[in-house]
Point group: C2
Chain length 406, copies 2
């Protein structure tokens, strides 16, 4: 891979660039939709392409449990299996394995409350040691084992363009001491992942290390230095990013500042963050790619992204207030739902009636919204007008309506 | 409306023609996908257009209960509400109202076994009399009343191109005496529907009467004569069509033979029939349009239509035997699922994982399959080769692969 930086902002750490991956190029900063189980939920690959996305994220943990890497490899890899021709990043499974065992790390890391165990609370960790993690499958209750080498070999079978190293993902509530010991193990696992990949990794697949260290300033710097000094070609930021958005922004700030000093030319991925305001901050702090369930998950709950910061950029279309609303989700939006002429009243009705078409339409809108937001931010960086465009977007400008000299 | 017949088969009652409706033309014989609650389940209108469909069917009963005809009318009618620009036929609600009260009429009429009450067993009839039917809403338990005039006024508010008259739909198990009394009431309701429509019906909306009479030969002829002598511009065949396919074909045969004699130029719709073999027989017997839940409902259960009569033209992709199958649903098929390159293994996996994308893909395939089947039958009639093409399709020829001089 090569990552080429095109423009560096003079007022922030933001930059635009291009990831040159085995299956094509990705313009950055970019949002990466989740294809957790080998499909962007409710959509076909052609839909995701039409929305403008160049990179999606598949989930090593889920694909390991079903259909299994052997079958995916037999059919020709994840690209061929799910019929997506553009680049794919796979996470390592670390986040999912540990989110089962650390009592709701998934929700805690994202600053959300929820049921313990995240999306798959029925699984559980049986043992963590230096070798790896033994856990129960949420599908069949059977024992499974995942190690740094195991994760890399699954990602090799999947044939992703970008593989993430296997890390221990610690939640907010653990002690500084646990966070530090866990980080050190993650660093040792990083080296094992890179060693396995150097010997066995598929040609063209690049590996991103992951910076851990919780909310501890010194640990984040230590971890950033460790990953920067490794042979990983890209750097992801993971683990606990704090209880609140302000703390998350601070942790990212510490980390990208250090990475800017130590590895300015390597691409940076922020794991699991995708709120509209967080994407804007993330770009300003020098993040190149983001993945997150939020736009698609909200879509399947009937919550549409809208250019209105007073509502957290959200409109819950299942609410009774939209029962007779004749406006589209967003005036002037050119997504398939809005340009298709569907009213909020119709979408509200379909959601209440349990019609799957509605989940698809709101998903299409949300991913369109985020794709245009990222386009605006890229254009703004290139035009040297990021502060202005970011301020407009924060004030509720519609993505796609505030282009910077496009 | 005008219905123009283009070609009459010399070897059967089959014919090709064109329905000229308020929102456009429909080439017949045609299959009509269900948009029961104002959407073809899992699809957008643009998908249904791309599949080649010119006419869909909306459900008066369901749309009456939610969102209600007032809201639909306020937004500009069902076309505008659901953003479908081509013709729409609405059923009268009779079938749904009576399927709640007659102990599983829905399944019985279709020769299927199932839970009593059909899809909405929680509703129930409170009283049937000459005026209409009082029943409980399956949504909120509230009392509702539907009469011939009420049904027509709902269909007027929906603004469909074709409205069906309100009929009592009797199941197979009732006595000949009940069937006869019920048919006579349906005939009186036919006149009330036509009178209401003459006074209040929207311009451009045409009305189809419905032939009842169960499986009684003389009653079917009597009912056909009654509807043929009425002012209805098209004729639907409804009610119990028997316990088995052979009996259903016989009942349709009696009815279309009589209609061919009495009203040869009026279009004929067969209600609720859509198996592959039944569509072929139906065309041979002179049916012009068919509606049925089968292709879309099977799709949402992961059952794909395939050119294999030995399986009833069905492949259940959720079955374990497809876990590693690298072939598409149907070799050579150009539907979005098959041409998209998705394997049976992938679809099987998605179905097991509960991914909505799979329901959409199989629905797209099934509706594509049926659209091509109807195209083949139309081309065959026009080319004077229906017997030959019907025989090939019955033997397992792939629709779209046996064109008659196209």
């Amino acid at each position: 891979m090569a990552f080429t930086v095109r423009t560096r902002s003079s007022t922030s750490r933001a930059r635009t660039g291009t990831l040159h991956l085995a299956h094509g190029e990705v313009q950055t900063p970019a949002f990466v939709p989740l294809a957790t189980k080998g499909t962007v939920k409710t959509l076909e690959p052609r839909d995701v392409v039409a929305l403008g996305y160049e990179l999606i994220l598949g989930n090593t943990f889920h694909l390991l449990l079903a259909p299994g890497p052997e079958l995916v490899a037999e059919i020709g890899g994840l690209h061929e299996f799910m019929r997506w021709e553009r680049p794919i990043i796979t996470d390592s499974g670390g986040f999912q394995v540990f989110s089962m065992g650390h009592g709701g790390v998934a929700d805690e890391i994202k600053g959300r409350r929820g049921r313990p165990g995240g999306d798959h609370g029925s699984g559980s960790i049986l043992a963590i040691d230096e070798e790896g993690v033994r856990f129960r499958s949420y599908l069949d209750g059977g024992e499974r084992f995942l190690s740094p080498e195991g994760s890399m070999s699954v990602q090799a079978a999947l044939g992703s363009d970008i593989a993430l190293v296997f890390d221990e993902c610690t939640p907010f509530h653990v002690s500084r001491e646990y966070t530090e010991r866990s980080m050190e193990r993650t660093h040792r696992w990083l080296e094992r992942c890179l060693r396995w990949h150097a010997d066995h990794g598929p040609a063209g697949q690049v590996v991103y290390g992951i910076v851990q260290g919780g909310v501890e300033h010194d640990l984040r710097l230590l971890s950033a230095a460790c990953v920067a000094s490794s042979a990983s070609e890209g750097i992801a930021i993971g683990g606990s990013l704090g209880r609140e958005k302000a703390q998350m922004h601070e942790v990212v700030d510490w980390t990208t500042a250090e990475l800017e000093r130590l590895a300015p030319d390597r691409p940076r991925h922020l794991l699991g963050i995708g709120d509209v305001d967080d994407l804007i901050v993330g770009v300003e702090l020098g993040i190149d790619t983001f993945d997150c369930a939020i736009p698609t998950r909200l879509g399947r709950h009937g919550v549409a992204l809208v250019p209105d910061p007073s509502t957290g950029w959200r409109a819950d279309l299942a609410k009774g207030r939209w029962r007779t609303a004749t406006e589209p989700i967003q005036e002037g939006c050119r997504c398939p739902a809005c340009a298709g002429g569907f009213t909020r009243a119709y979408l509200h009705y379909l959601l209440r009636a349990g019609e799957l078409t509605a989940l698809r339409l709101v998903t299409l809108h949300n991913l369109w919204f985020i794709a245009r937001l990222m386009e605006d931010l890229r254009a703004a960086v290139d035009a040297g007008r990021l502060s202005e465009v970011a301020a407009a977007l924060r004030a509720g400008a519609a993505p796609g309506a505030v282009p910077a000299d496009r």
